[in-house]
Symmetry: C2
């Protein structure tokens, strides 16, 4: 397997030229993010990923996790890598200095997490859970709970989990049954079973902090009766030392298609009298807190699509440059590596184009997060918040679908060797298969996009986005070299607006048709967002060229942008037809059709 | 896991109404294929697949094959299932009665093989190799070789293998190095290593007959110096009894992503003085013989795409009808199975539509085979031969790509349970990943389609196909209920013709651009072929309705056809744009772009 090489130049280009790193480094609270520090962090993260995480990735896949009478063993090397990871302070990168973090903007932590995923996705889920949990506690927990748990969670001395799913409550958390009974001292006893709990049990950290959704005795039915609890594996004494083992245990782990190094646990609460927990925030607001955190988690899963795609691309490119097979179709020469075959070149360049489109969109969105949180210009902050809310289903749903496609093409580049596990290219493909499912399937993302966002606000934010897209199209058209791309983007914007108008016109009367078109619409919007960002990439490259930069790097970027517009962008038009004309056949599909 | 239910009604409908079963049953040599016999065969095969092969499929995946010092062990149950399979005479279904077969047309054996794949693809590869080898020997072997080997291969007493690939010779067989040295008695000694040999070694049959590509000492370089040899595992005495162990052995097996029940062997020939073999046909014509057989093998791999898709669809549908989750988006009702959610319904109905399109195309093509081989109308026979030659890359390349997509969607329907191996829906997805690779990758199929077929004959056969497609479009337009579909098909035919014209206009000057568009063109042509066949399906259903058949089945078919045209057909237009405008960005992609 080829070595991982952090794509620092692409990362830095997008951070600076597209995502506004300089401006974000000047926002109040983000001053630490100086260009020099950011460069140094990215370089260090690249070294850490390549040197510590990548070498144990395939072994983690082969060895997997084992379950032995309540005890879960992670693969060899996990403990040592985690200790190094924690000691290097990576977990707290974007968390508040008050609790031991470094307080850097999301724009800086995003490429860093991309690297953890590229080099070892199964491992990266362990510290990622700490970040998600810290954000949940910061949002909703009392000062006392924060003081008890946050330092240890931010430092990584304790591990973290999120307990949402139950056998009958997957996508539909309204069906949650785990219950919490109040105790006299203000704590609670929890009873119930949770499934699909990543890193629910392991020996890597001295304690594990579970965040658990459960119902209070008097809670209303449905989603408005769910509360959030913190339940430690070992109870925490008032002085912060660890006390007795709590009544929570892992009763089995799943045998999965991928991410073998990440244990997926079934957790049982309260088999011996009740697991002691503490209410986080107010009663019955658990789902609301979870959704705040879930937006961040969904963004993180989108980054997994990018990270896996990058790694699979690097492996496929290395193989294609090495593997000699066949003759050059044009010159007839033999003895050439397969990267020169037109179809292999097509696969690799379209992989690269999709990666740059995803990275541009995700880093740009990370910048929106930081602007929304830190900008002193309230109007700007509000706009960025609206953009994030609207496009989060794209960041998650579209990036994970595209990430899967890229990993699939990587296997195809390897040919027969791609099907052989030793090559290592099957692993990102298998690992990637979960990302369109967890934290809300693509279907859930699409329903969220169309139902909760676009229909509810009558398409207002998407029209704002369309204004920005059309501005990029106009800039492209003004550049004779890019004018053809501008025309494509302009047409795509019109197709997108037509789909939007169709959704709005039919959202009430034909909701079933509209929702049958939700996933195609997600793909259409994702593709147009890709074209929008690739257009911005082209404009940035041309600006630098106009300023005298004649580096081949810029020519390379422009070449990839042309591949995007020639090969990927055309999908948007077909998807518009499916959105607008394809839903009725689904809605009217008769029982005998199945 | 849900039980397999043979889709007999769909199969019979397509056989009779689309693929011309009645007409083929009247061709000379095909008279056995009476409607009653065909129905009985399909029913028996469905029972055999469901009762014998399906029950050992998941176990075969979990257990896999093991290699122990030259010996290969197949999963538990393989031996018993094979013995029953062989004794039931399934191997010889379409092979000549002269050697013990039943001599039935390919149109009849095609749905039967679809069922073997649906119920146990890894197992089905074992008897499928016998069929392929029998066809190769029938094509090229001397009477003596035929008498020695064919009876045992057709009966299945002996197993079969095809030995093409070497480490340096994958897609490019010109690089074959295995050599054959003549011996005084007219036989040869073979020396070399072959990789990726399915069922290269096992204990299931008393002997294994290897067909091996190798070079004679005086052979010209490249593809014109490759000969075909038969090399038995145990030498065969003049009286037909088994003699000494030959100098061929398995030295390792691959650890693969899927088809775990099918051992993939590295075979070493001649480590101890040379493996004894016999030349098949004439010297240096081995590749030609292999290509005759490979056309049949490629068709068989296309059927694998269909068979896996059918099985994955059945499992997903059963799960979606059982799994209760969420509320109905339109009525607000809870407690409904997920099949009623618009996006799940969309996934299932588009799966079904793709399956019917593949099945219609593959069975229709099987009918062309039979017509080409048996028709006494020479002009008709020639036309069908041209159609098969042109569309074989679609039957293989497009059906395998679509089969993968359907298996992917099946996992998505299962949500989180789809990623858990015990559910069984990961298996068809993993098994399917090889089918776009072996017997020529999708890229190889597309190069064959564009380079060897369309450019070489200046698009003549594709224009004949377009005439037939437009005739179907005209028929659809003449039916007020189907007129809109006819308009789509008409437009798709024009887009296809535009792509064809573009390929022909640029084939000489811009071959690199043209070949960069070969896979998108394969998808475009495949999609239009799907629309063509779905249009025929609709016309057949309407004919029966006009004749007074008011069954819900016909309404169901028409419903699925509308799903095809609303959801799948629109891709063709986008692909036309990629073919015609996307190749230059690939051809001109600069090194710095990677």
């Amino acid at each position: 397997m080829s070595d991982y090489i952090a794509p620092l130049r692409d990362m830095q280009f997008i951070l600076k030229e597209l995502a506004g790193l300089d401006a974000i480094g000047q926002l109040p609270g983000c001053e630490e993010a100086s260009p020099d520090l950011v460069d140094a962090i990215l370089e260090e993260a690249g070294k850490f990923g390549a040197g510590v995480l990548a070498p144990i990735n395939q072994q983690g896949d082969v060895q997997g996790c084992t379950f032995d009478n309540g005890k879960v063993n992670c693969p060899d090397g996990w403990q040592e890598a985690y200790d190094q990871f924690r000691e290097s302070g990576w977990i707290g990168l974007s968390l508040p200095p008050e609790f031991g973090g470094q307080g850097l903007p999301k724009l800086v932590s995003t490429p860093v997490w991309e690297m953890w995923v590229s080099t070892n996705m199964a491992f990266s889920m362990l510290p990622q859970l700490n970040v998600g949990q810290a954000e949940a506690l910061l949002t909703a927990a009392s000062d006392e709970l924060k003081q008890t748990y946050l330092h240890k969670v931010v430092s990584g001395e304790w591990g973290s989990t999120m307990n949402l799913t139950e056998p009958q409550a997957g996508s539909d958390l309204a069906a949650t049954r785990t219950r919490a009974e109040p105790r006299a001292d203000g704590s609670y006893r929890l009873f119930g079973q949770k499934i699909f709990i990543s890193y629910g049990e392991h020996e890597i950290t001295e304690n594990i902090v579970h965040l658990v959704l459960a119902r209070l005795p008097d809670a209303p039915a449905g989603v408005k009766g769910i509360s959030l609890f913190v339940v430690p594996k070992y109870l925490v004494n008032p002085d912060g030392s660890l006390g007795a083992r709590n009544d929570v245990r892992c009763i089995s782990i799943e045998h999965k298609m991928g991410i073998h190094g990440s244990p997926t646990c079934t957790m049982s609460y309260g088999d011996e009298g009740g697991a002691i927990g503490h209410l986080v925030g107010e009663p019955n607001r658990g789902l609301e807190y979870m959704f705040i955190m879930m937006n961040e988690a969904r963004f993180g899963v989108g980054v997994q699509g990018l990270g896996l795609a990058e790694r699979a691309y690097q492996q496929a490119l290395a193989y294609a440059r090495e593997r000699v097979q066949g003759r050059n179709a044009v010159t007839g020469e033999s003895g050439q590596p397969i990267v020169h075959h037109p179809d292999v070149k097509r696969m690799l360049l379209t992989m690269k184009a999709r990666i740059l489109a995803m990275r541009s969109l995700l880093y740009t969105a990370a910048g929106w997060f930081d602007q929304a949180h830190h900008s002193t210009d309230q109007a700007a902050a509000d706009k960025y918040r609206r953009f994030i809310d609207l496009l989060m289903p794209i960041a998650k749903g579209w990036s994970t679908e595209v990430g899967n496609d890229v990993c699939d093409d990587a296997i195809q580049v390897f040919g027969g060797m791609g099907f052989v596990e030793e090559t290592g290219i099957a692993q990102p493909f298998r690992d990637a298969r979960i990302i369109t499912i967890y934290e809300g399937t693509t279907g859930i993302q699409a329903n969220d996009l169309v139902g909760r966002k676009i229909l509810r606000e009558n398409g207002a934010t998407l029209r704002e986005v369309l204004v920005d897209i059309r501005a990029v199209a106009a800039e492209l058209r003004a550049d004779s070299e890019l004018a053809a791309l501008g025309a494509v983007l302009e047409a795509d914007a019109s197709d997108l607006e037509a789909s939007l108008d169709w959704l709005l016109a039919n959202g009430r009367e034909r909701l079933d048709q509209v929702l049958a078109g939700a996933v195609p619409f997600l793909h259409q919007l994702g593709t147009v967002c890709g074209s929008w960002q690739m257009g911005r990439l082209a404009l940035a490259a041309r600006r630098l060229q106009a300023g005298g930069d004649a580096s081949p790097y810029l020519a390379g970027l422009l070449s990839v942008v042309r591949v995007w517009f020639g090969q990927l962008a055309p999908q948007a038009g077909a998807l518009a037809r499916v959105v607008q004309n394809g839903g009725d056949a689904i809605a009217e599909g008769v029982d005998a059709a199945f």
